[in-house]
Amino acid sequence: MLEKITEKIWNFLASIKTGMSLVALIALVNFGGSFIIQSEQAQEGQLERAYSPETLAFLDRWGLLDIYHSWWFILILTITAVSLIIASIDIWPRYWARVKKWKPKFPGERFDFADFKKKIPCSKADPKRVQELLERSSKKVWTGASASGSRDFFFQKGCYAHLGVFVIHTGLLLILIGGGIGTKFGFEGQVRLREGESSKIYIDERGRGKAQPLGFWIKANDVRIEKYDNGSPKAYYSDLEIIDQGKIVKTKTIKVNDPFDYQGIYFYQASYGTEPINQRATIYLRVRKGQKGKEHAMSLAMNEAHKFPWNKGSEREFRVIDYAPNFELPMEGHVRQLGEAIKIKIKDGKKEEELWLFKQFPNFDATMRKGAESFVLDNVQIDYDVTEFTGLLVAYNPGVWTVWIGSTILLFGLMWTFFAWHRKIWVRVDHDHVLVLGHVLRNDQGFDRYFNKIVTRIEKEIGIL
């Protein structure tokens, strides 16, 4: 019973129709998948812009946003791989028999199997000379005799063309295995480095943005862009340095299409940009004693202690300790935005006081606090420097060589199958004629020429020409 089931499964997976159905299924899934934005390629916020929240939830629930890594797609690929193996094993004996165990069947009197026929009338053909001639074309010439007393010869060429299909299947299988290894043991991530910065972690893209250790330091010594005369980018460069256990072990300038690797981990130039650093705020404000005193305009930096201008000898001082580009005041049910604001800390010996100032409301401090002095915030100016940064793609894929080897084998197999051809030639030397028969697998145009060549040679040999 069990054997029967196993046999049924085996036959099912070995059938060429199953294989074709699976291939058609993969093609259909791929075709459909190319119409849905995949989260793998989607840029920031692209999915949200393209689909409504309901559609997005629906797609996500059915794994349609990451089709190519979904369990069912991997299952289809796995079944296809298994089917590929089983089908190859299943057809092997038949194909091998065509190559090795093959014994020529010498034709009786029916020749309809042959694609090419040529009857040369000749009464004094010498079978031995014909055999010698044929042996010049092929190492192995089978001999036989027919019932009518004729001498039969047979030889074949290119019989190994039948085995090309196994080479192709092996290549495909290796590519699939390589892909599996890469998915299972490899990683893909990003490192973003400013000029002069170094990092020992990368942001894992497959692990939803988790930081992972690299195992060494990578440092960007220089990041730059080169432009064409018309201003469009010509090249992005990053001078990279690997520091392992305190020593610089490798340096290279990389650019797009020219990555480098350390311990199998590849670094690619993925993006380039500039960003502000060393941000400094200059705060312009006015301060007066009490609510009515003379106004003093001041400009100061963050966290810089200042005495009040009318009483420099006193212990009382103030400093700006916080800055909000847009102050948010939580109200019932919503947030009110109050614009630019700074936080001031006033210190008088042990006594401390904190207050917020709003650019929008110049009288706020004078009317609300009614303290020993009142501030008016005029402006906040932010200065910064610009630094270049490089976005590196970090990838480790142990399966990649398996894929390359598989690809090479696949190509080799295709060439073998498509350009090698199995040719069979029979020659019968009878008492009043010589009969040449030819049969070919594919490429019959080329065989036409080959067959005629053989016929001409025989004709020459037996002295017709």
Binding site: L393, N397, L411, L414
Partner: protein, 429 residues
């Protein structure tokens, strides 16, 4: 502009005329098989190919060795049409089959015509992503893969015609192609009162960039208000659907030219031609808007509409055509041989593409739409090759798979960037 480059443009203006002549002579040859005519076709096509090759060569020399002439849209159109013409010319010489030329040269002519209308013809410098040796191998091979497979599919299609399709089957398949044509042409703007939207971003063989003719006022440049196009498109779609419904309702296998289904189908084809011609007229009337606004869109539309015209002729006289065709066995064998020529190239471009992607982006396969559709094409022709091993599938069904493959190739080359244009930026960093 240098003199050499000017010469290259002149040659590229002359070549399409010669291809067109070869195509017209091909049609004549179909009806009257004179030997002199056959020689004339070969000579004219050969001359066209010579001019085409020279123009490409000049462009390569002008751009420098590191910048092969297939790195932007204009060059891509020129280069792929060259590949197609080359494969076709080779088939003519080797297999002595002139009927293939009509289709292939028509495609070459249409593609070169579109290249002619593309405004960005300068040799622009390469963006960083394209600065690689692999662009030489990868894109170079792509022309042969696509051309080989396209010609193979045309042979399969002719084989199906030769084997005798009923008019009903032919008309029904043609209506389906027609529905696809209108849907692809119209997109989501099909019913938008004739405002025919043009793409803001255009795709230049590997990179998205801003429309070079973009002005300050987006209304003026990106939208083409065509009062006729929208209604005509809608009408055409309606007629195609109606024709399909009539055909499904009809029980009789053989149908005459006077049957309702065929008449409605003919009207649909007329509408189809009308809206495409209308778009060209409208574009021609405007100074600022040339084809570059959405070239792939228009290539697609024009090619599919030409196909539709051809299908109509076949549907009109389904029994007249087969007698001019070579023997079914010959067509079948040629389809197989060309698939065996194109398939290794298709495999090669997938592999070289993977190597390039590995070098540029750190992954050899990323399920990008372009990669995916190329893979689908590969799978379809793999199916074809397997189908030929099954006695029941060997002949007709294999040919049908191959014809499906034709659309897949077109979709891989143009459709990915057209239909999915808003979704992905293949090649962009």
């Amino acid at each position: 502009m240098s003199t050499a480059l000017r010469l290259s443009f002149d040659l590229l203006n002359a070549a399409p005329l010669l291809y067109f002549t070869a195509m017209v002579l091909g049609v004549l040859y179909w009806v009257r098989q004179k030997k002199g005519l056959a020689t004339a076709i070969t000579v004219i096509a050969g001359l066209a190919l010579l001019l085409h090759t020279t123009a490409l060569g000049i462009r390569w020399i002008e751009g420098g060795l590191y910048r092969p002439p297939w790195t932007n849209l204009y060059e891509s159109l020129i280069y792929f049409s060259w590949g197609l013409a080359l494969v076709c010319f080779f088939c003519e010489l080797k297999f002595r089959i002139r009927s293939i030329g009509i289709f292939a040269y028509a495609l070459v002519f249409a593609t070169l015509g579109l290249a002619f209308l593309t405004p960005q013809k300068a040799i622009n410098p390469l963006v960083p992503a394209l600065q690689s040796w692999w662009i030489l191998a990868h894109s170079f091979l792509a022309a042969f893969a696509y051309s080989g497979l396209i010609v193979a599919s045309v042979f399969s299609f002719l084989y199906l015609i030769k084997k005798g399709l009923t008019r009903r089957t032919l008309v029904f398949s043609s209506t389906l192609v027609g529905i696809a044509t209108v849907l692809l042409s119209g997109g989501k703007d099909l019913f938008s009162q004739g405002i025919y939207r043009m793409n803001e971003m255009i795709f230049y063989n590997g990179v998205w960039m801003k429309n070079p003719i973009a002005g300050t006022d987006p209304q003026e440049f990106y939208q083409l208000t065509l009062s006729m196009v929208g209604p005509l498109m809608g009408l055409s779609l309606l007629l195609y659907v109606l024709a399909a419904v009539f055909l499904l309702m009809q029980r009789r296998v053989d149908m005459s030219c006077r049957s309702l289904g065929f008449i409605v189908f003919s009207a649909a084809v007329l509408c189809n031609i009308a809206f495409v011609v209308d778009i060209y007229i409208q574009i021609g009337l405007r100074e600022n808007l040339t084809l570059a606004s959405s070239p792939y869109h228009l290539v697609f539309m024009s090619l599919f509409t030409s196909l539709q015209v051809f299908l109509w002729i076949v549907c009109w006289r389904p029994h007249a055509l087969p007698q001019y065709l070579p023997a079914a066995e010959t067509l079948d064998r040629l389809a197989n041989q060309l698939t065996m020529f194109g398939f290794p190239f298709m495999t090669l471009i997938l592999i070289t593409g993977a190597i390039w992607a590995h070098e540029a982006w750190g992954r050899y396969w990323g399920w990008d739409p372009k990669e995916t559709t190329a893979f689908v094409t590969w799978l379809i022709y793999a199916l074809y090759l397997h189908a030929r091993r099954l006695p029941a599938w060997k002949a007709r069904r294999a040919a049908v798979i191959s014809v499906v493959g034709f659309f897949s190739v077109i979709f891989t080359y143009l459709g990915t960037n057209l239909v999915l244009s808003g979704l992905h930026s293949y090649g962009a960093q």
